[in-house]
Symmetry: C2
Subunit: 958 residues, 2 copies
C-alpha cells in the first residue's frame, strides 16, 4: 500500500497529473525524480472517470478532497484569479496564526513578478507548506489511504489531493467507529393487524400525495438486522456489492476519521488536519457531492433526487424524505430537518387554535361590556389630562377604538390559549423525543454512544496554535519543551473581554430601546402641544408605527452585529475543541440575540405605564420627560403591535431578503462580472471536474444559524403568546418556506458536509426546554399584569353588585378634584371640553379626594394586586405540573419501537446461538472421539483450521 510520492511541478507540461506511488514513509525525500507523470485525461477519459468522481483509473472512488494553494511562476493573470478563491478564512487565519507565532506575516501570495523580494519569503513558506503536505500525505498512505494529485485543473492556483479509502481501510475504520451495518438477516416489522391495519391503509392512501416520490418510503415492512461492523463477523453482512456496502457519506466520514487521527510529527509541533487547515497548508477539505443537480444528461443520483423531491418549493406540502436526507448528509443534518419538519407540523394545530381564539375575540367584541360602556355616549366620563399643563381634559369615549381593539387580544380565550400553548410546547418536546427515538431506531443508532464521538474530538487549530505559541515563549525562557496547555491565567484577558463585551452589548441594546422610548416620548410631548385632534391621532399612529419600525431595523442590524461579536468573542476565548467552541458560541449568540429581540417587547409588556404617578403629580425622568403611559385599555394592544411587526419583519426581511435575495444578488454580480471578462466565460464553458465545482461552493458552516433562527422564532411563538395568538400562524407560514429554502441551500449551494453521527439535537433541546419554561412564567405575568383579566375577575366576584361586568369601567377609575392641581400643573385650557370641570377621572385604584387619605392607593389596589400575584403562582405551578404530567404520561420510546428493539435483541442472540451450535456440530463431526474425556476440556479446533482457498476474498480480513 505504500507508495512513493512526488509532487514537484514541472513547468511547461500543461496538462499533467501526478500518479502517486506507495512506499514506506521513511524514505520519502523532498525531491525524488522517479515519479511517473501522466498527461491529463482527454475529454472521453474524463467522462470515463465520471467527471472527477473517480480516480484516473475510473475505478477508485474519490471519497475526500484536500485542496491547497500552488504558486505558478507563469501566468500571473490566472494566478490572481486563483487567489480570489483561496483567500478565504483559512489563509487569513493562517496569517494571524503565524503572526502570533512570532514569524513575519507572509504576504498574500499574489504572484506579481514585480515584487520579487516578497516572493522570496513567500517561497520559503511555500516550501515549508509543501514539506508538511508531503509528510501528511505520506502518513495518510501509511494509514492505508490511496491518494491522487491533480495540480493542473481548470481552476488555476489550486491543487487537489483526491483521497480514496480502499476496502480494507473502510472495514478497519468501520470496526473502530462501531458503525452499525445491515446484516443479511432480514426480519419482518410487525404491522398492526385487524382494524388497525385497515385504518392504517386508509390513512396511507389518503396521505399518498403528501409523501415524496422517493423509493425509500416504500416497503418498510422488512428491515435488515443491524450489527456493529466487525471484520471477524464479516460473514454476517451482505458483502456481495462492496462498492455500495459503504455509501458515499459513510466513506467520506471514514476518511475524515482517519484524517483527524493522522498527525504531522516531523516539524517541531505535531499538527493534525485542523492545524494544517488553520495554518494554510491545506486550504479546504471536503467530501464530494454525488453528482450534478441539473443539466440535460445527468445520470440519476441521490443529490438530484433530493433536489427534485425535497429542495423545491413545488413540493412544499409534502413530507420530507428524511431517510434520503440522512443517507446523503448524515444523521446530524437529518435530525435538523426532521426536527424542523416536526416543529412545522406541530405548528398546524397551534395556528388553528390561535386563529380560532382570534376569531372568538372578533366575534365577541360587540358583546364585551367594558368596551360597550366606554363607547356608550351616555357614560361620557370626563378624564383627567394625561400630562401637566400641555394636556387637556378628554372624554373617555375617545378611547373607544383602542378598547374595542384590545378586546381582540384580551379576552378569556387568550388565557385558555396560553395554557394550551404551554401544553403544546410540552407535547412538542415529548413528540420530538419520540420521533428522535424512532429515527434512532430506523437509522440504527440505538447502540451508539454520543460521548465517544465527542470525546474523540480533536483540539481546534486555533487552540493548538495558541498552545504552540505559549510553548515557544516558555522555551525561550526556560529551554524546556514540555506539553503545555492553556491555563485560566492565559485565558483571563479573553474572559474579561468576554464579560465586558457581553455587558456592553446588552447595554447597547438597552440604550437603543431607551432611545426609541425617548423618541416616542418627545414626539408625544410635542404632539400634546398641538390642538388639532386629527393631527394628534394621525401623529400618534405614526409615532407608534415609526417607533416599531425603528425597533425592527435596530433589531435586524444588531442581530448581524451580535452574531459577528459572539463569534469574535468565542475566537478570543480559544476553546479547546470544536464542540466547546460551538457550545460557547451558541450560548453567547443565544443570550445576545434573545436580549436583542425581546428587550423592547418586555419593556412594553411589563414596564411601560407602570410608574406614571397620578394627575397632578406625574413622575418625571430627566426632569422633563414623563414616563410613557399606555392608552386606555391596557398595554396589551401595543404589545401586540410590537410583536407582530418584529416577528413579521424579522421573518420577511431576514429570510426572504437576506436568504433569498442576497444569493440572487451575488449571482447577478457574478453574471455582470463574467460578461465583462468574457474570456473567463469560455473557461467556464469547459466541463469542470466534480471536485472543482464543489470547490466553488460555499463551505458548510454548521447548523447553528439555522437552529438559532428557529429557536428565536419558537420564543416568539411561546413567550408572549398570551398577547398575540396569531404568532403560530405566522411561524407556520414562514417555516413552510424555510424548510425548502434550507434544503436548497444544503443541496445546491454548499459543499457537502462530512456526515456526523448524532443521536439527538444536543444543546438545542435544552434551550427549547428553557424557552418553554420561561414562557410559562412570562405568560403568567402577561395575563395577570398586562391584561385586564384579573381586575375584571376581581370586580366580577368581589365588587360587582349583580355579578356582571356592568360598572367595571367606573370601578377601575379614581376621582381627582381639579382644585388639587398644584400651581403650574393645571391644564392651560380648562374650558377645552366646553364646560367647567370640577372632578375628573383617571385609571388607577386610588382613594377619592373625599377620603381621609386622598390619592393614596386604595384597598382595591391591594386586593387586585394580591389576586394578580395569586394568579401567577397558580398559573405557573399548575401549568408546570401539567407539563410534567404530559412529560410523564407520554413514554419517551414509542411502544412499537421498543418492541422492535427488543425483538432485534432476541433475534441477534438467536443468530449467534445458532452460529455457535453450527460450529459445535461442525467440531463434533470433525473430532472422532465422543467419550468421556471430552467433558474435561472444551472442543479444540476452530473453523480457521480449514485452508483458505479464496485468499483474495479474505484479503481484507484484518
Amino acid at each position: 500500500m505504500e507508495k512513493n510520492e512526488r509532487s514537484t511541478h514541472i513547468p511547461g507540461k500543461e496538462k499533467e497529473v501526478d500518479i502517486i506511488n506507495i512506499k514506506g514513509i521513511e524514505d520519502i525525500g523532498y525531491v525524488q525524480p522517479d515519479s511517473i507523470l501522466l498527461n491529463s485525461l482527454t475529454p472521453e477519459e474524463n467522462t470515463q472517470c465520471q467527471h472527477g468522481l473517480y480516480f484516473q483509473d475510473g475505478e477508485k472512488r474519490v471519497d475526500y478532497i484536500l485542496t491547497y494553494h500552488i504558486k505558478k511562476p507563469s501566468s500571473s493573470r490566472s494566478n490572481r484569479q486563483s487567489s480570489l478563491f483561496t483567500d478565504n478564512a483559512f489563509t487569513r487565519s493562517f496569517r494571524r496564526g503565524t503572526a502570533r507565532l512570532g514569524r513575519p506575516p507572509p504576504p498574500q501570495p499574489r504572484g506579481d513578478p514585480e515584487v520579487a523580494s516578497q516572493d522570496h519569503s513567500m517561497d520559503y513558506h511555500e516550501d515549508d507548506k509543501r514539506f508538511r503536505r508531503e509528510e501528511f500525505e505520506g502518513n495518510l498512505r501509511d494509514m492505508g489511504l490511496e491518494l491522487e494529485k491533480d495540480e493542473d485543473t481548470k481552476t488555476p492556483g489550486v491543487g487537489f489531493v483526491k483521497i480514496h479509502a480502499p476496502w480494507h481501510v473502510l472495514c478497519r475504520e468501520a470496526e473502530f467507529m462501531k458503525l452499525k451495518m445491515p446484516t443479511k438477516k432480514v426480519y419482518e416489522v410487525k404491522q398492526c393487524s385487524g382494524v388497525g391495519a385497515k385504518i392504517n391503509t386508509l390513512v396511507n392512501k389518503a396521505t399518498e400525495p403528501l409523501h415524496p416520490n422517493v423509493e425509500e418510503n416504500r416497503a418498510q415492512n422488512v428491515k435488515h438486522l443491524s450489527y456493529a461492523f466487525s471484520r471477524e463477523k464479516q460473514h454476517l453482512f451482505d458483502l456481495s456489492d462492496r462498492d455500495s456496502f459503504f455509501d458515499s457519506k459513510t466513506r467520506a466520514s471514514i476518511v475524515f476519521e482517519v484524517l483527524k487521527r493522522t498527525k504531522c510529527t516531523k516539524a517541531k509541533y505535531s499538527m493534525g488536519i485542523t492545524s494544517l487547515l488553520g495554518s494554510g497548508v491545506y486550504t479546504a477539505a471536503y467530501p464530494l457531492h454525488d453528482g450534478d443537480v441539473d443539466g440535460e444528461n445527468v445520470e440519476p443520483n441521490d443529490r438530484k433526487l433530493l433536489y427534485e423531491e425535497w429542495a423545491s418549493y413545488s413540493v412544499f406540502y409534502k413530507y420530507q424524505p428524511i431517510g434520503l436526507v440522512r443517507k446523503y448528509f448524515g444523521e446530524k443534518i437529518g435530525l435538523y430537518f426532521a426536527w424542523l419538519g416536526l416543529y412545522t407540523q406541530m405548528l398546524i394545530p397551534a395556528s388553528l387554535v390561535g386563529v380560532i381564539v382570534f376569531l372568538y375575540g372578533c366575534a365577541t367584541v360587540d358583546n364585551n361590556i367594558p368596551s360597550m360602556e366606554i363607547c356608550h355616549p351616555r357614560n361620557n366620563i370626563t378624564m383627567c389630562p394625561l400630562c401637566d399643563r400641555a394636556c387637556n381634559y378628554w372624554k373617555l369615549k375617545e378611547a373607544c377604538g383602542t378598547a374595542r381593539a384590545s378586546h381582540l387580544f384580551d379576552n378569556p380565550a387568550t388565557v385558555f390559549f396560553s395554557i394550551f400553548m404551554a401544553l403544546w410546547a410540552a407535547m412538542f418536546m415529548e413528540h420530538w423525543k419520540r420521533r428522535q427515538m424512532r429515527l434512532n431506531y430506523e437509522w440504527d443508532l440505538t447502540g451508539f454512544e454520543e460521548e465517544e464521538e465527542e470525546l474523540k474530538d480533536h483540539p481546534r487549530a486555533e487552540y493548538e496554535l495558541c498552545v504552540m505559541q505559549k510553548s515557544l515563549k516558555k522555551e525561550h525562557k526556560t529551554q524546556k519543551t514540555e506539553k503545555e496547555k492553556l491555563t485560566c491565567r492565559d485565558r483571563l484577558p479573553a474572559y474579561m473581554t468576554n464579560i465586558v463585551m457581553m455587558l456592553l452589548m446588552i447595554g447597547v441594546t438597552f440604550a437603543i430601546v431607551f432611545g426609541v422610548i425617548l423618541y416616542r416620548i418627545s414626539i408625544t410631548a410635542a404632539l400634546h402641544m398641538s390642538n388639532n385632534p386629527t393631527t394628534r391621532s394621525n401623529v400618534r399612529l405614526m409615532v407608534k408605527t415609526t417607533a416599531a419600525i425603528i425597533n425592527l431595523v435596530v433589531i435586524l442590524i444588531l442581530d448581524e452585529v451580535y452574531g459577528a461579536v459572539a463569534r469574535w468573542l468565542t475566537v478570543l476565548e480559544v476553546p479547546k475543541t470544536d464542540k466547546s467552541f460551538e457550545e460557547r458560541l451558541i450560548f453567547k449568540t443565544f443570550i445576545l440575540k434573545f436580549v436583542n429581540a425581546f428587550t423592547p417587547i418586555i419593556y412594553i409588556a411589563f414596564f411601560r405605564g407602570r410608574l406614571v404617578g397620578r394627575p397632578g403629580s406625574y413622575l418625571y425622568v430627566f426632569e422633563s420627560y414623563r414616563l410613557e403611559e399606555c392608552a386606555h385599555g391596557g398595554c396589551l394592544m401595543e404589545l401586540c403591535i410590537q410583536l407582530s411587526i418584529t416577528m413579521l419583519g424579522k421573518q420577511l426581511i431576514q429570510n426572504n431578503l437576506f436568504e433569498i435575495g442576497i444569493p440572487k444578488l451575488k449571482k447577478l454580480i457574478r453574471y455582470i462580472k463574467s460578461k465583462r471578462r468574457s474570456f473567463q466565460e469560455e473557461e467556464r464553458e469547459k466541463k469542470l471536474q466534480r471536485y472543482e465545482t464543489d470547490h466553488f461552493l460555499e463551505p458548510f458552516a454548521g447548523l447553528t444559524p439555522e437552529y438559532m433562527e428557529m429557536i428565536i422564532q419558537f420564543g416568539f411563538v411561546t413567550l408572549f403568546v398570551a398577547s398575540f395568538p396569531l404568532a403560530p400562524l405566522f411561524a407556520l407560514l414562514n417555516n413552510i418556506i424555510e424548510i425548502r429554502l434550507d434544503a436548497k441551500k444544503f443541496v445546491a449551494e454548499l459543499r457537502r458536509p462530512v456526515a456526523a453521527r448524532a443521536k439527538d439535537i444536543g444543546i438545542w433541546y435544552n434551550l427549547l426546554r428553557g424557552v418553554a419554561k420561561v414562557a410559562v412564567i412570562i405568560n403568567a405575568f402577561v395575563i395577570s399584569f398586562t391584561s385586564d383579566f384579573i381586575p375584571r375577575l376581581v370586580y366580577q366576584y368581589m365588587y360587582s353588585p349583580d355579578g356582571s361586568m356592568h360598572g367595571f369601567v367606573n370601578h377601575t377609575m379614581s376621582y381627582f378634584n381639579v382644585s388639587d392641581f398644584q400651581d403650574g400643573k393645571e391644564p392651560m385650557d380648562p374650558q377645552h371640553l366646553g364646560y367647567q370641570v370640577e372632578m375628573c377621572r383617571y385609571k388607577d385604584y386610588r382613594e377619592p379626594p373625599w377620603s381621609n387619605t386622598p390619592y393614596v392607593v386604595s384597598k382595591e389596589f391591594w386586593a387586585v394586586l394580591a389576586a394578580r400575584l395569586a394568579f401567577v403562582i397558580v398559573f405557573q405551578n399548575v401549568v408546570m405540573l401539567m407539563s410534567d404530567i404530559v412529560d410523564w404520561l407520554i413514554p419517551d420510546i414509542p411502544k412499537d419501537i421498543s418492541l422492535q428493539i427488543h425483538k432485534e435483541k432476541i433475534l441477534m442472540v438467536e443468530l449467534f446461538m445458532k452460529e455457535e451450535q453450527g460450529k459445535m456440530q461442525f467440531i463434533d463431526s470433525m473430532t472422532p472421539c465422543h467419550g468421556k474425556e471430552r467433558n474435561n476440556h472444551a472442543p479444540i479446533a476452530r473453523s480457521r483450521s480449514i485452508p483458505h482457498t479464496h485468499s483474495h476474498t479474505h484479503a481484507n480480513n484484518f
Copy 2:
C-alpha cells in the same frame, strides 16, 4: 459437554449424590438407569470441596443454586420440618396459579401417611414438576452449563441443583453481555502534580484513619484498560488465572443470564425460570456467598472482609469500601451504598449550618423586639376571648412563652437556611451525578447501555400465568391456540381496584388526621370550661403531645399497612416485567407513604388557624366544633413540634425497634424453641454445606424499601426545613447507623443477590429531584404564610414610624368593641380579669369598630397578602433559577474522569493500530513479492494461517 442425567431417587441408600452425565438433550429419557451413583462425601472430603462451594470433584465452582421440594416417603417428622422452610411465597403462589388454571388446588405436601388420598394428587403434581425440572436441567446442560444434584443434605425435603458454568460458557456469555473486562494493558492514572499533589498527599494522610482497611483502596495510580470481552480478542486479556478472571459475582450473573434465556417448551406453554419458580417447580434460586463471616478457622474471603471492615458499627466513622461492595454484590447494590454514603456525607454541612441557625435563634431570642413587646408587663393588652361564651378575656403577656419559643424557628436566619437547603439539594444532586460518573468509570460501565439490560427483562411469572390462563379460557371457547397478551380490558378491574383503593387509602389518612383534629378540638373545648389556669396550661401541653403521639403511631401503623396494600395492588395489576412491577410498586408506595407522613404536617402548616373568623363571629364546623387556632406567635412552633416528633419517632421506632429489635426477637424465639427441641440442636451442630446455610437466609427482596425509607427522610430534611432547622442533624445521626445496619443485613442476613449491572439509581433520582422541587415551593409558602417573616418586613418598610420593629405587635392586632358581641356569644365571666373590658384586641388585619366598614378585612391585610404572594413568586423563581445555575455550572462528568475516558479511548485505538501494524509486518514478511501489483489488492493472508499447536489453549475460541 453433554451429559446424561439421572435423578430418580433410590430409597434405602442414605447418602447419595447424583453425578450428572453430559450428552445431547435429544436422548434424555425420563428414567435411564445407567447413571453412576456415588456415596456422599465423608467429612474430610467435605472440607476438600470447601463446604459446598465446589462440586464433588473439588474443582468446579458452584456458581448458582436451584432448590426444589422433594417428598420423602419415610420420616414424616423431618418432612414436616422441611415444609417449614419450603412453604414460602413461591409454593403459595403456585397454588394460587394452578388454582386459576382450573386444576384442583393441590394440598401442601405434608407427607402425613394418614392422608393417602391427598398424597395421590400430590404425587401427580410432584411428577409433573419433576418432569419439568428434568427438561429444564437438560436445556441448561444444552447451553453448556454443568449441573450436580444433592438431594440428601442435612436439610430434609429440599433438593439442591448446583450449577457450574465452565470456561467456554463464561466466555460466550461474557461476549453476549458485552462485559467489560480488564485487559493486560495497564496505564497510569494521572495524578495532579506540584502543589496539588502535596495537598493531596496531606489530605490522604489526614484522612488515613477514615479509610477502611481494604486493599482495593490502595494503589489507584494504575488502571487496567478495559474492553468488552470478546473471544476473538482473547489475547488482549490476562487469562493466566482462569479461575479468578471472572469473579464469583460475575459468574453468578452469567449463569442467571443463561437461566433467564432457557425455557421449558415440552409442556403446553413455555416456561422460563421465573415461571418455574412461580409455579413451585423450583423453590428458590440464588448464588452462593463466598464463605462464612465468623467462626474460628475461616479462611479469608470477601464476605468476611466486608463483615469486618464495613458491616460493623465500630467502623461507623470510616468511608465505605464501595469497590469491594460492588465486587461482591454488583453495581446496583454498590450504587445504593455509594448514594447513601454521599447523602450522609452531604448531611454533615447541612446539619452544621442547621445547628448554627438554631443557635442564632437561641442567641437572639432576647433581642427580638416583638417577643419583648409581648412579654413586657407595661404593654399589657387585653385580648378578646378565643371562643364564644366559654372563654374569657386574657392578657397578651400569657403568650410570652410561645412568642419567645417561636422566635427560635421564626427568624431571618431560617429564610437563609431554606434557601441554603434548596441549593444544598441541587448540589447534592449534582454531586451524585458526578460521583455516579466516577463510579461508572472506575467500574468500567462507561460503554454499557442500560436499555439493553432492561429490555431483555423477562416477563414475570405471575404475568405468564395470567396469560396462560387467558389462553386456556379462550381455547375452551374457540379451540385456537395463539399467543395472547393481556389487554386493557383484562386489566380494567385491576386498574379500577387500584384507583379506588388508592383513593380510599388517601381518604383513610385524611380521616385519621381529621379525627386527631377533632380530638384536639374537643379536649381544648372541654379545657376552656375549666377555670384553673394551671390545669389549663398543663392540659394544653398534654393535648398537643398526645395528639402528636397519636399521629405518630397512626403514621407508623399505616406505613406498614400501606406497604402491604401497595404490593397487593401491584400484584393485582399483573405488570409484565419485573422492572414495570418495581416502578408501579414504587410509585404507589411513594404516594401512599408520602401522603401518610406529610398530611398532618401540611394541615398544621397551611390550614390550621386560617379560617377562624373573628371574635363575635367565629366559624364553626358541625355547628359545635370550632376550627382550630394557633397559639399567638404563629403555627410555626406547633409545626416544629409535630415535625420533630414524627421524624424522631419514625426513625427511632422504625429503624431501631423494627430493624434491630425484631431480628433480635426472632433469634431469641428461635433460641427458646431450639432449647425445647434439643434434637434439632444436634443436627445444627453438624457442619452444613454452604448452599444449605444460604438457603436458610432470607431471600433478597430488592432495594426498594431501603431507598423508600431514605427518600421519605429526604422529604423531612428538605420539605419543611424552613420550620425545623435541626432536621438534617437528626437525619445524619440516623444515617450513620442506617448504613451499617443495612450493610449487616446484606452481608449476614440475606441470601446473596444476583449482581445486577446499573449505571444509575434509576427512578429514585427522579423522585429525589421531584421532592427537591416541591420543597422549594413548600418552603416558599411556609416562610411567607406560616411564619411572621413577611408581616414583619411589611411593617418595617411600610408602616413603622421609625423603621424599627417597635409597635409591630400592636399593628398586627385589630380592635373589637365588646358591645358588638351578639347575644349569647359574650364571655360568661366578663369581670374575669378584674376590670370591665370595653375594647379587646385580636390578631388579624381588620378594620376597627369606628371605621365605616367595621370588622371587614383592612387594606393592611391585602397589602400583607400581596407581599406574601410576591415573596412566594420571587422565592420560588429565584431559588429554582439558582438551582438550575448550580446544575449548569457543575459539569456532570468530573474533569479528570472525562480526561481519563478520553485517554482510554486513545490508548485503545493505539493498541489496535499497533496490532494491525504487527499483522501487516507479519504479512509483509510472509509474502515475498514487494512489487507494484500489491497496490491493487490488499494483503491476503491472515494470522490464522499459522498452524495452531496449542490447541488446548485456543479451545474456547468460538
